[in-house]
Symmetry: C2
Subunit: 227 residues, 2 copies
């Protein structure tokens, strides 16, 4: 707990709030009834996070229309972003969880990381108020955030295609590099090429999945935030 507070740069006055934020429901389900899990703090933290990000974007981009503000906030607080924030502070290592959850990869599960990150924000807010929660959250907002480079989509191939085809001379191709594993558990590796340059590589359980992963990597390389 001490280590973790050093990592996050915040010292709790009420340490039970930190403990609650780090407690996955599987921990309390395994007979530890007197412990609270982090679901209620997650409910609170979700709102706290939202207002902090909204306020930041509102002031930072005074001319951005409401629709763009909404899209940018959605990207900043989507599951994938929150899980990335959580990973950067090694949140998974400090979660309290049941054995079943742990053995099935619970410390790396996106939803657990996302929920615990929100709960942590809620806990800091309860411990010290909005300003301290703001200091904590704003550290995770990328510097030089550019709303015009945000794409909220699950179809990365189409998004990449739309961006590339603005220059008619540019050409995207997907190249299958390898295919391995038994029939019921195959793994594919795909490269996406822009003209003759490799701009992304992706792995997936189908060719399609690997192509999407490669396109997403390419978008990130080009400075786009995807969600």
């Amino acid at each position: 707990m001490k280590d973790f507070q050093q990592i996050i740069g915040y010292q709790f006055k009420k340490e039970h709030l930190l403990r609650e934020a780090l407690t996955h429901s599987s921990y309390t389900n395994e007979g530890r009834k007197r412990h609270k899990n982090n679901e209620r703090l997650e409910f609170l933290g979700d709102s706290v996070l939202s207002v902090i990000v909204a306020n930041y974007l509102f002031l930072q981009f005074p001319d951005l229309p409401e629709g763009e503000l909404t899209k940018t906030r959605a990207a900043l607080v989507c599951s994938r972003s929150l899980a990335k924030f959580a990973q950067s502070i090694h949140l998974g290592d400090y979660l309290l969880m049941g054995c079943g959850e742990e053995n099935s990869g619970g410390r790396e599960r996106i939803s657990n990381l996302e929920d615990a990150f929100e709960a942590l924000v809620g806990a800091i807010y309860l411990d010290s108020g909005l300003e301290q929660a703001r200091v904590f959250v704003l550290k995770f907002i990328p510097e030089n955030l550019d709303p015009s480079k945000i794409r909220v989509t699950s179809d990365f191939k189409t998004t990449l295609q739309e961006i590339i085809q603005k220059n008619p001379e540019e050409k995207l191709t997907y190249v299958l590099v390898s295919e391995s594993g038994p029939d019921h558990d195959k793994s594919f590796e795909v490269e996406v090429h822009l003209n003759s340059n490799i701009i992304g590589t992706g792995i997936g359980k189908s060719k399609k999945q690997a192509e999407q992963a490669a396109a997403q990597k390419a978008l990130e390389l080009m400075g786009y935030e995807t969600c």
Copy 2:
């Protein structure tokens, strides 16, 4: 503007924020380019409202599970609730809007009232911070709020039926009281009876709509918050 600030019990330091909160987009579209409309403040206010209500529910109901907290917040900040809050402070009367919007009933339109209410919360937050916004918002939360009496549904008939059938001896009937107007613009009035007592009356453009409206009235009479 002065009247309105008396009604809401809050005096703006920066009156331009109040003006912005009250400005519907149709006003700025009609050639008044230098005025800002309330869409950006609505974006901000939506989050501010959400965190205030979340915080209130979290503290007020320390044993309520996350799912119930989420449902209760959703009901408190749904369009219909926000429009009711807006009506209680006569917000529609103070909106700045274009002639087209005004002539088509814009001052009573639920979406305009909801958006302006959120914008107003955002404006107070920017003007004075979270605590003042909280004082303003909490005045609208019903006293003796009972989360077990909240129903988030658009099917009021089914909800009413489910509540009533817990007592097998009770019986609901819907009675068509009147039908008026020309074929293309009919109006129906329906009563819902519990045994021999009228517990709600509803008007609608079809029998079904009128029945739903009557069921909703009955739920409200029985102390349920519907949304």
